[in-house]
């Protein structure tokens, strides 16, 4: 790849990010509340999927921990942004422990703290978790998710137990959600394209060969796990301030499961695939709602069946897995060069 192409690609990328920002600017002023909410959800799910894909796709370690990271991030940021009065009012079973009960920080700081706390937890978790591989790793990380949920239910003076935290200020808007999303994609792609990313891929491809080439697999795994947890924690903070109420039951294994569907449909190991699948599944889940509402199609009266959305959704998933076994993108990544090549093939001139 020569220098002019690199600078061309860089300016194209910057241009498309600006285009996206212009779209957000337009959307914020003209779209209705419902559409804006979907767009915010999409951004959060892209953040989650891209960082999750780093562990499961790029590094090939089957982790099921995102719901735990999400919960830690959500609780951390919520605890730091709630006002002291709100805390006093919410914590009716047991009062909140002292320094936190009077503390209230700006949203940005709480997001950063959410990321850092989650990353710290992931860092210390890496040592026991990465002693095992494959299916065993999945079970250990799954267990970790359950532990966090139990902790959230029982550390009442910190999390308010099963009552959850209510009345969070809805700080999360399109700018926050998409800003974090773009930043996450930027950081993840840069990391993947460095020697660290190559080492992660080497661990996925053949751990024995990677170790024989001087790569400390454990250290690489810990780095990826901590890195990914940081962004999942931030996304948790965003999610908490989007739905404004969090409780332990929100962060069940189903959340991880949805993310797993997204990264598998997009193609394990492809950041582009994760982004596309996050958009398709988050938006598609809403778009399929028309099949649950009564409609009149060519004189045929359709009453609308509640739950029809999930039936169709499952069918689509099955079809994708039948016809594109390695997901939408496989392990391929988007590049401007491949886009141009595709255009040249379509328009021979």
């Amino acid at each position: 790849m020569n220098k002019t192409k690199v600078s061309r690609d860089k300016s194209l990328t910057i241009f498309s990010v600006l285009l996206l920002l212009a779209f957000i600017f337009y959307a914020e002023r003209n779209f209705n509340h419902y559409t804006i909410r979907i767009l915010e959800n999409i951004a959060i799910f892209i953040t989650l999927a891209v960082s999750y894909n780093l562990i499961n796709g790029i590094m090939g370690q089957f982790s099921l921990a995102p719901n735990a990271f999400l919960a830690i991030g959500a609780y951390t940021s919520a605890i730091f942004t709630l006002s002291p009065e709100e805390k006093l009012r919410s914590f009716i079973i047991e009062p909140m422990i002292w320094p936190l009960s009077v503390l209230s920080l700006p949203f940005a700081v709480s997001l950063l703290l959410a990321g850092l706390v989650t990353a710290l937890v992931a860092f210390f978790m890496a040592a026991p978790v990465f002693r095992v591989r494959g299916d065993y790793l999945a079970i250990v990380t799954l267990g970790f998710g359950e532990v966090i949920q139990v902790l959230a239910n029982n550390l009442i003076s910190l999390t308010n137990g099963s009552l959850g935290l209510k009345g969070l200020h809805p700080y999360t808007n399109l700018w926050w959600a998409w800003g974090v999303c773009i930043f996450t994609i930027f950081c993840t792609v840069r990391l993947i394209n460095s020697s660290y990313g190559r080492a992660m891929k080497a661990v996925r491809e053949d751990e024995i060969a990677a170790e024989a080439m001087g790569i400390n697999a454990f250290r690489v795994k810990t780095l990826a796990f901590t890195f990914s947890a940081f962004f999942q924690g931030v996304a948790g903070g965003l999610l908490a301030h989007l739905i404004t109420t969090i409780s332990p039951s929100l962060f069940t294994f189903m959340f991880t499961f949805n993310l797993l569907i997204i990264i598998v449909i997009g193609g394990l190991g492809s950041t582009t695939g994760s982004v596309i699948a996050a958009i398709l599944i988050t938006w598609g889940g809403e778009a399929l709602r028309v099949f649950e509402e009564p409609s009149n199609f060519l004189g045929f009266n359709y009453k609308g069946v509640p739950g029809m959305r999930m039936v169709l959704f499952s069918l689509i998933l099955i079809l994708v897995m039948l016809f594109a076994r390695s997901g939408i993108m496989g392990r391929a990544e988007f590049s401007w060069e491949s886009l141009f090549r595709w255009f040249r093939r379509k328009l021979p001139c």
């Binding site: 930027f186 170790e211 024989a212 001087g214 392990r331």
Partner: protein, 265 residues
């Protein structure tokens, strides 16, 4: 100090099986040492023990004067022992050049933050790694295949790629596990020439396992023969060729315990 690898009385047991039994092996700088023996003799196990993949049961391994017994394999690799595998272990889904670049991971000086935000030593290191990888691919005649997937390469090229990858570690000692298996006689001869040039140009030590006797006899300076884990001979190719114990191990003995003389029978 030109003694690179000094293996003293190395034993490896798997349960009741003594795969390697008090093996001594010395590899000097600029020397190609062959490790031969019938199937199941423990040659690969010896390599695995030297590179830290399995822990030896007893004995000691010294590399450049320092004891490396029981070190984890990444640490041994970073210290300068690179290897290839009997059953090729490439990063199959990655491109050829990425395969080589990965081996340089231990030589990078930038942190992951520098990688993300692109400041500091990131670009200098990346271009150094890339040009070094290109150099090695050129050396192995794989330059044209740089952006192919590693698994799409023909068998012989995959073996060469494994060697290029091992060399990217900038090793002092290179351990090759059956490098010419599956190569035809012409390729084998070319590879022998390449190996001799490598030894002379880089002045590294090479440890070599192979079953192709004419190849081993041609390139090796010294040969260690083992049978059922037990070392039975050590010497120059000429000495080994005329060693009764070696002939017995390979061809069997007659009822009197004398090696079968196939030339006269």
């Amino acid at each position: 100090m030109d003694l690179l690898l000094d293996v003293r009385c190395l034993s490896v047991s798997f349960g009741g099986v003594r795969a390697v039994n008090s093996l001594d092996l010395e590899i000097r700088k600029g020397e190609i040492v062959g490790l031969i023996g019938p199937n199941g003799a423990g040659k690969t196990t010896a390599f695995n023990a030297v590179t830290g993949r399995i822990r030896p049961s007893s004995g000691a391994i010294f590399f450049c004067g320092a004891e490396i017994t029981g070190w984890p394999s990444p640490r041994i690799a970073r210290n300068g022992i690179a290897r290839t595998f009997q059953n090729i272990k490439l990063y199959e889904d990655l491109s050829v050049i990425e395969n080589v670049m990965i081996a340089a991971h231990s030589s990078i000086s930038y942190s992951f933050l520098e990688a993300i935000f692109g400041f500091g030593r990131f670009s200098a290191d990346e271009s150094r790694i890339r040009s070094r990888a290109e150099e090695l691919l050129k050396l192995m005649n794989l330059k044209e295949l740089a952006f192919e997937r590693a698994s799409s390469l023909p068998y012989g090229s995959q073996r060469k790629l494994e060697i290029a990858r091992a060399l990217a570690l900038e090793p002092k000692l290179l351990l090759l596990d059956e490098p010419v298996a599956g190569m035809n006689p012409t390729e084998t001869r070319e590879f022998g020439g390449f190996l001799l040039r490598l030894r002379d140009n880089l002045s590294i030590g090479v440890g070599l396992i192979d079953h192709d006797m004419s190849f081993v006899m041609e390139v090796c300076d010294k040969i260690r023969v083992i049978d059922h884990g037990i070392p039975i001979a050590w010497g120059t190719p000429f000495e080994i060729r005329n060693d009764n114990k070696v002939i017995a191990a390979y061809l069997g003995t007659d009822f009197g315990g004398q090696p079968v003389d196939y030339a006269t029978n």
